[in-house]
């Protein structure tokens, strides 16, 4: 055989070998492996009561995208120290992405700077700008400020700018609570509405609380809770205590829990700002997996939220948003 013939047969043999490796082995073209992505979700609360729908969305995404999701609560509500420890622990334990509901603004940036870690991070219920400043991080959040404004407008529409709107502040307000309150106060101030902040919180006892509410004057008060826990506490109080019900004409706040919705259905809560937590949970895990796969994640902007009254509960749109099918 001539040199050219030898070259031809060797070349053909190599082509065959290449085709065989391409078509029948995983050496070159790898089958898509169903990789499992450990993802840790660290919230700022001691229970998952406020994250029921969020978890449903999260679990749905975990099933679809092979996420192994650990949902971690704190021992002490709103403890930045504990949350920081949890974040560091999960980073070290091999989480491929973290979903964090930060208890303090700027805390995450500080932890990142100190630990020099850059595992994918999804911030929920934080200011969108907080994620922009971080590397390999995205924000999944709602327009809490807008929700607060909407609630303010609704209260003003219902009761006018009278000095009987009492604000029940959150015990350990997180970023979302602060934004919500800020929006609410802005809306009230713009229309000259006065908001009386109650100094007696949930820990002060029912009597002290009712006493302070009654100080507002002869007219019934309108209560606005800054956080979902405060709303449930107040609704429970109104449901169980006749004196409280006699003092309060309306209760408003935000929250998605079945309890909150039941109170709305029963007429104890008059207006509720609600969020699509299922989508937030789903998109958080989806973004976490995509970042873990080194893919680019599109900014979702603010997710859907709304203000509902009792009659809106049967609305098909809110029915599916607030009572997600598992």
């Amino acid at each position: 055989m001539t040199g050219k013939e030898n070259f031809f047969w060797i070349f053909y043999g190599l082509v065959l070998l290449g085709l065989f490796l391409l078509s029948s082995t995983d050496l070159i073209i790898k089958e898509e492996e169903a990789g499992i992505y450990p993802i840790s979700v660290i919230v700022g609360d001691t229970t998952d009561d406020q994250y029921v729908n969020f978890r449903k969305g999260m679990e749905r995404a975990a099933i679809e995208l092979n996420g192994d999701v650990s949902f971690i609560t704190l021992y002490e509500k709103g403890s930045a120290r504990q949350q920081r420890e949890m974040i560091l622990r999960e980073q070290e334990d091999g989480s491929q992405a973290l979903i964090v509901d930060p208890v303090e603004e700027g805390m995450i940036a500080q932890i990142r700077q100190e630990s020099r870690a850059s595992i994918p991070l999804i911030l929920i219920n934080a200011k969108p700008g907080e994620a922009w400043e971080l590397e390999n991080a995205v924000s999944i959040t709602f327009d809490y400020h807008g929700m607060g404004r909407r609630l303010g407008e609704e209260v003003l529409k219902e009761y006018g700018a009278q000095e009987r709107v009492c604000l029940l502040e959150a015990e350990s307000p997180n970023g979302a609570d602060l934004l919500f309150l800020q929006g609410f106060c802005e809306a009230m101030e713009e229309e000259g509405g006065l908001v009386r902040t109650l100094s007696c919180g949930r820990g002060s006892g029912t009597e002290a609380f009712l006493e302070e509410v009654a100080q507002g004057g002869p007219e019934k008060a309108v209560l606005v809770a800054q956080d979902p826990e405060g709303l449930i506490w107040a609704a429970q109080l109104l449901a169980e205590t006749k004196e409280a019900a006699d003092l309060v004409e309306g209760l408003y706040g935000r929250g998605n829990t079945v309890s909150a919705l039941n109170y709305l259905d029963k007429g104890i809560v008059q207006g509720l700002c609600v969020t699509d937590d299922f989508s937030a949970g789903y998109l958080s895990v989806k973004a976490a997996v995509e970042l873990a796969q080194n893919r680019v994640v599109k900014d979702t902007g603010f997710l859907e939220s709304g203000y509902i009254r009792r009659e809106d509960l049967r609305d098909e749109k809110y029915e599916k948003m607030l009572y997600p099918i598992e």
């Binding site: 085709l19 391409l22 749905r60 997600p324 099918i325």
Partner: protein, 599 residues
């Protein structure tokens, strides 16, 4: 640059490659045709099988769904016709309740609530025990209104959260409500009411989840008005995170359809569930039932390439087997072309090639014979030409010589006459030399001496001559009658018209492997042009009085006999003289005679 034409390309390619290329291209075309047809057939069958299986699965799901709905409808019938109808409800409410409870217990996996409501929306009976939420008006519910509006039918609602019961739980349940109008007996009076059975949505999900439809297929359930009842991604669709092409599908009748949705082709199977008018829709992406995966395609290419490789190897073997004898034959023809007519002609391969080989062999032999004939003919011609040249002795020379002899005898110069006659006799004896072309140098010198003796007398001693030759050259071979024409030329051209005494020198010497004869005269000489003319025949060597064998003929004879390396050279100058050199190979006489005899 102009591209070479296809025909030119093939002209430069060997027959082996041509056969190989044509065979391989044919094989490739065949493999591709077979491969494509088999691939198409397999893909078609595979797709048909998958479609059939999917259709079977959908039919099975439809049967299950139908059976499930019939079970619930039978439950409704049992409650109505077996428990409520014709029973004084208000007096036997406990019995009714316990019987409904029994039926509920038997179906509680799929039933969430059973309730009997009056026409005004009052809850008459509920299993499990529950009360209506405060302020709830069920008469406004769609399922309630439908039941009273069409009392002859059973009504299935769309999935919804059941709000009406206050069960004190912080939970919610998605249900599908089956409602019907019932007749409630109170003593002798009857009133209309509504029987409600809440089917758990989870039981529906359980039936429809994880149904295998190809690789990535799924199914969903659409209501008769096009609302989604079940979809594996129902919540995401409602939230706007996913989409489904429901609007176009729910109008379709039962059957198989193909559509392109979000840029991807997919098969759609539609099957209507009896009574409800709901539609089960199976969705199978195209890649779930075709062999279009990248690796599968590459494998097909590999199979084609592999078979082509095998065929190419076989083709290479066959083409070399066919062309090897042709190649051998080509080598033989090349050898013949280069003059080797004795080259062995290879005869092998197929009949035609063997025949060709034999023909070429015969042709070579015939060429050899013809060439032998030509050589023999040429030799014969050369010999006859040589003989002709040798025999060209001018009769005039003989007449003049005899005239001198006569003159000498008349003038009583008997001794001189005897001498001339003797010289003439010897001259002719050597001229004949038994017909041989080759004689001893000694004899050739003797011959020229006799000639000079005769001519000296003829020209009245107008010239003198000398012959010089060493003993080592005398026994070497010389061409016969070689010197005489040259000496004749020296006498007639150089001496005849000369005023003074002429001198002719004939000298023989050996120069290495060559024998050199020198004929030198001091005659009139000639120009270089005349000297060249002597060799070409343009200048006449003699004035017609000599022996008639010209210088040109001597030169030709030498070359004819000994080859082109030998022959004459002439150096002459007008009024100075002429020097002619003859070069021959220095060969012993016997050796050459032997060779002549052999030839």
């Amino acid at each position: 640059m102009a591209k070479p034409r296809k025909s030119d390309l093939f002209q430069r390619v060997s027959i082996r490659y041509t056969i190989f290329i044509y065979f391989t291209i044919s094989a490739l075309i065949m493999i591709l045709l077979i491969g494509l047809s088999v691939y198409g057939r397999l893909t078609g069958q595979f797709s048909a099988t998958i479609r059939k299986e999917n259709q079977t699965v959908i039919n099975q799901v439809n049967l299950t769904m139908d059976s499930y709905l019939r079970t619930v409808m039978k439950l409704s019938d049992s409650i109505y016709y077996g428990v409520i109808k014709n029973v004084d409800f208000f007096h036997q409410s406990e019995t009714v309740n316990s019987e409904i409870t029994l039926l509920y217990d038997n179906n509680k996996d799929s039933v969430s609530n059973i309730a009997l409501l009056s026409k005004d929306g009052e809850l008459l009976c509920a299993v499990p025990a529950a009360r209506l939420k405060t302020g709830t008006d069920v008469t406004g519910e769609e399922w309630f209104a439908d039941a009273l509006e069409h009392p002859e039918n059973l009504h299935f609602s769309m999935p919804h959260v059941q709000y009406i019961f206050d069960n004190g739980e912080n939970q919610y349940r998605w249900v599908i409500t089956l409602s019907r109008a019932v007749e409630i007996t109170d003593g002798t009076a009857t009133a209309q009411g509504v029987l409600l059975i809440d089917m758990t949505y989870a039981s529906l999900q359980y039936m429809l989840d994880n149904i295998p439809l190809g690789d990535q297929g799924y199914l969903y359930l659409v209501g008769s008005s096009g609302e989604l009842i079940y979809h594996p991604k129902m919540q995401l669709i409602d939230a706007g995170l996913e989409k489904e092409n429901v609007s176009e599908i729910y109008d379709c009748r039962d059957g198989n359809y193909q559509e392109t949705w979000q840029g991807k082709k997919r098969d759609i199977i539609v099957k209507t569930v009896g009574y409800t008018g709901w539609k089960i829709v199976g969705v199978v992406p195209e890649q779930g039932f075709t062999l279009n995966e990248v690796k599968t395609r590459l494998f097909m290419v590999f199979v084609v390439a592999f078979f082509l490789f095998l065929l190419a190897v076989i083709n290479a073997y066959i083409s070399s087997k066919i062309t090897a004898p042709i190649k051998e034959l080509e080598k033989t023809v090349n050898a013949l072309e280069e003059g080797d007519l004795d080259a062995e002609v290879s005869v092998g391969g197929s009949y035609e090639i063997q025949h060709l080989g034999r023909s070429i062999g015969n042709m070579a032999r015939r060429i050899q014979a013809l060439m032998d004939d030509i050589v023999a003919e040429h030799e014969s011609k050369r010999k006859s030409e040589f003989d002709t040249l040798q025999s060209q002795i001018n009769p005039h020379f003989l007449y003049n010589t005899l005239d001198i002899i006569v003159w000498m005898i008349e003038n009583e110069q008997k001794q001189e006459a005897v001498k001339i006659v003797t010289a003439l006799a010897r001259f002719f004896r050597i001229s004949l030399s038994k017909g041989r072309s080759i004689i001893l140098v000694r004899d050739e010198l003797e011959h020229v001496r006799n000639y000079l003796t005769i001519q000296q007398k003829r020209f009245k001693n107008k010239f003198t001559y000398r012959i010089e030759a060493g003993p080592e050259v005398l026994s070497l071979a010389s061409l016969k009658l070689m010197l005489q024409p040259l000496v004749e030329n020296a006498i007639y051209h150089g001496m005849e018209f000369m005023d003074g005494d002429g001198e002719i020198l004939v000298k023989v010497e050996r120069q290495g492997g060559r024998l050199c004869f020198i004929i030198e005269d001091n005659g009139l000489g000639m120009t270089a042009e005349q000297a060249r003319g002597l060799l070409t025949g343009e200048t006449k060597s003699t004035s017609g009085k000599g022996s008639g064998i010209g210088v040109k003929n001597v030169n030709e004879r030498i070359r004819l006999y000994f080859g082109e390396d030998y022959g004459l050279t002439i150096h002459s100058e007008p009024d100075v003289g002429t020097r002619i050199q003859i070069h021959l190979p220095a060969v012993p006489y016997e050796e050459l005679v032997e060779k002549e005899k052999e030839s």
